[in-house]
């Protein structure tokens, strides 16, 4: 658990982060959203002491981090930044082994861990281990950046605009990978982004920041349904609200019995995808399939009800 308690950071008398209190539950993803200059990155950097708070405190599992040496604290957390920040003069394998090496792991243990992570991120160790970062594609570099952050099996992963430099297709893939890894290892993730779409897709909790203040911290459904301020509503995009709401649910959870005509949709798809397909094909309902078997249908009427403002 990460407890941020009444934290403030001022530069030359100007509060960049202003009295923010936020608790991040263990094994969840908390996405901090805001425009540039909102203080979201500064807030995140105070969790691993890259920025020292002017006042207030951060506790990790009950322990105040003010008393811990910064380098020790940071080795316990993963850290991913925009544009990956890989060391250009070190091979992929050496990059991933950075923190294990700092922690003094044995060579064999480090090597096993590097191979394990590379396999996890669909990079063949034999092929990629000795390559230099500039010999990889943008998506591969990004994956190596996340693998490097996870190398020492941290409980907490901090990510600063990790997908900012990726094109939409690779970004969607990277987001799926992250969700899978989070589910698999239960890592607590704090992710900073300016992209509300990304926040809704990834976050268990969304914290919206503006001008150093935390405006609202709540589940995506609540952020969409009950924005605390007009700014939060604006950030979601008023005309996008129903579709963002639908994107939170899976087809699998809203299957109705019955028959439907035409090409089926996967149960793992989001309701938003299903709604788009209904509108586009002009059908009132869609068959739903799971593992190649049709298991029911979703209807336009049901989805329209679900897209309405929560009461």
């Amino acid at each position: 658990m990460i407890e941020i308690d009444d934290i403030t950071k001022t530069y030359n008398g100007q509060a960049v982060v202003d009295q923010v209190t936020l608790t991040i539950q263990p094994h969840t993803i908390c996405v901090v959203v805001g425009t540039s200059g909102s203080g979201k990155t500064t807030l995140m950097r105070m969790i691993n002491k890259l920025v020292e708070p002017t006042s207030g405190s951060v506790r990790i599992d009950g322990e105040d981090i003010a008393g811990l040496p910064a380098y020790e604290l940071r080795r316990r957390m993963g850290y991913v930044i925009q544009g990956h920040g890989l060391f250009p003069h070190r091979s992929v394998g050496q990059n991933i082994a950075t923190v294990p090496k700092l922690l003094g792991w044995t060579k064999a243990k480090t090597r096993d861990r590097v191979d394990e992570l590379m396999t996890l991120f669909q990079l063949d160790p034999a092929e990629f281990r000795d390559r230099l970062p500039h010999e990889l594609s943008g998506g591969q570099q990004q994956r190596v950046g996340v693998a490097r952050a996870l190398a020492a099996k941290p409980n907490i992963l901090l990510m600063d605009e990790p997908y900012g430099a990726l094109d939409p297709v690779i970004r969607a893939k990277a987001q799926e990978d992250l969700l899978n890894i989070q589910r698999q290892f239960g890592t607590t993730i704090v992710l900073v982004t300016h992209d509300m779409e990304e926040a809704i897709h990834l976050g268990h909790t969304i914290a919206v920041m503006d001008q150093g203040k935390l405006l609202q911290a709540a589940s995506p459904a609540e952020i969409i349904g009950k924005p605390a301020t007009p700014f939060v509503a604006e950030l979601i995009g008023t005309s996008e609200r129903p579709f963002r709401l639908l994107s939170l649910f899976k087809v699998a959870d809203h299957i109705e019995p019955g028959e439907a005509e035409g090409k089926p949709i996967e149960a793992s798809a989001s309701l938003r995808d299903a709604y788009a397909e209904l509108l586009w094909s002009g059908r009132p309902d869609l068959p739903v399939q799971r593992d190649g078997q049709v298991v029911g249908r979703v209807t336009l009427d049901a989805l329209a009800r679900l897209a309405a403002r929560p009461q």
Partner: protein, 397 residues
């Protein structure tokens, strides 16, 4: 005029067009061929008589030289492939150098030990023109650093072979050398000690100082300004200015004179060369470290590297090519500057230069100048190759 009219006739081969730099090279070469090829003097200090190319060699050899010059002239002038230009350039230079030695043997009367034959202005211009052709071709070929080093080694081997074979023994330069062989090697050692020693000390002091300036921002402007001022002191003045303080130290600090410190000689020369070396090394260290990608530094901090680990594992390796460039600049600079050290008794090739000027013996000046130029050139090529090899990895951050 339409574009079609301007387009070259397609049937013409690609090489049949003028090369821009080639025109300049050809002009220099033409001037070189017209000017006297050799200088003949009855002894080493009287003004000499100039000897034209046609008279400087026996008929058949003069013809061979003229033909190879003509071939080189054509290859330089027209747009031949760079590799052709490189090979022809080397062949012409080889012929030129070998025949210069032959010319000396041809022009020196038998059993006359006082007569001196020196290369004339024509020879130097021809050598310059074809050296330009070779370097231009090398630049265009963009060879890998290892290839450049291999070519340098081959050229040095060829020069060594020419000297070892005695082909140049009748030339005035080699006669001066023959008279001073032990002194030549002693001064060569002094030169190397001064040039490399000052750079080594400056590296040991300058790189840490640069790291300090990089880490402690307020220090930066002050240190760099002081070094900038040092750099502007004329070299002869700096050598002179150091005599008094070092003489005082030698006289008053116990043990100072015992380790070789004195007002004149090696100590002030080394101190002055060291002072000149500091600015490029310190400023390149600062610039090199400053250029390290901020993302890599942020990642290093965020992953829990200490200040020291970050410096050793990330900042220094990534800044190294720029730091090495600074070392290259001062090494080449100091090899040249060391000649002046002879003025205050520091030794080095400058001894021959100043002796030669004093005796108006140009051959003696060349005996000091030519090895200095060769040394500086070799250092530049070797270090350039090293810079390129180290900056190859991680070019794109």
């Amino acid at each position: 005029m339409s574009i079609a009219e301007l387009a070259p006739v397609s049937s013409r081969p690609a090489w049949l067009a003028l090369d821009k730099l080639g025109v300049l090279i050809a002009l220099i070469a033409a001037a070189g061929a017209a000017l006297p090829f050799a200088l003949f003097r009855a002894n080493r200090i009287v003004p000499g008589d100039t000897v034209a190319l046609a008279q400087a060699l026996p008929g058949s050899l003069a013809m061979a030289l003229a033909l190879s010059l003509l071939a080189g002239f054509a290859v330089a002038l027209l747009r031949f492939p760079a590799l052709t230009k490189l090979l022809v350039g080397f062949v012409v230079l080889g012929v030129l150098f070998v025949l210069m030695g032959q010319s000396a043997a041809f022009l020196t009367p038998p059993d006359d030990t006082f007569a001196r034959v020196a290369p004339g202005a024509g020879f130097w211009l021809l050598a310059f023109a074809f050296a330009l052709l070779v370097t231009d071709a090398l630049t265009r070929l963009r060879l890998a650093p290892l290839w450049r080093l291999a070519i340098l080694a081959a050229v040095l081997a060829a020069m060594a072979l020419l000297l070892w074979s005695g082909g140049w023994n009748q030339l005035s330069l080699l006669k001066e050398y023959a008279n001073r062989a032990p002194a030549f090697w002693a001064e060569a050692r002094a030169h190397l000690v001064l040039a490399f020693g000052s750079v080594a000390i400056a590296t040991v002091v300058g790189v840490p100082l640069g790291i300090l300036c990089y880490k402690v921002r307020p220090l930066r402007a002050g240190v760099l300004n002081v070094l900038n001022i040092v750099q502007t002191i004329p070299s002869i003045a700096l050598f002179g200015l150091l005599i008094a303080p070092l003489a005082w130290i030698a006289a008053n600090v116990p043990g100072a004179s015992a380790i070789g410190i004195s007002g004149i000689g090696t100590a002030p020369a080394l101190v002055a060369l060291f002072a000149y070396s500091l600015l490029p090394i310190v400023s390149n260290t600062v610039v090199g470290l400053n250029n390290v990608s901020p993302a890599a530094i942020d990642a290093a901090r965020g992953m829990g590297m200490t200040v020291w680990q970050r410096l050793v594992a990330v900042e220094l390796p990534l800044g190294f090519p720029v730091i090495l460039t600074g070392i290259r600049i001062v090494l080449v600079q100091n090899i040249g500057l060391t000649t002046i050290a002879a003025l205050i008794g520091g030794g080095g090739f400058g001894v021959f230069v100043f002796q030669g000027i004093g005796q108006t013996a140009m051959d003696l000046v060349l005996l000091g100048a030519v090895p200095t130029v060769v040394l500086a050139f070799v250092a530049a090529v070797v270090l350039d190759a090293m810079v390129e090899m180290t900056s190859r990895e991680g070019k794109r951050p």
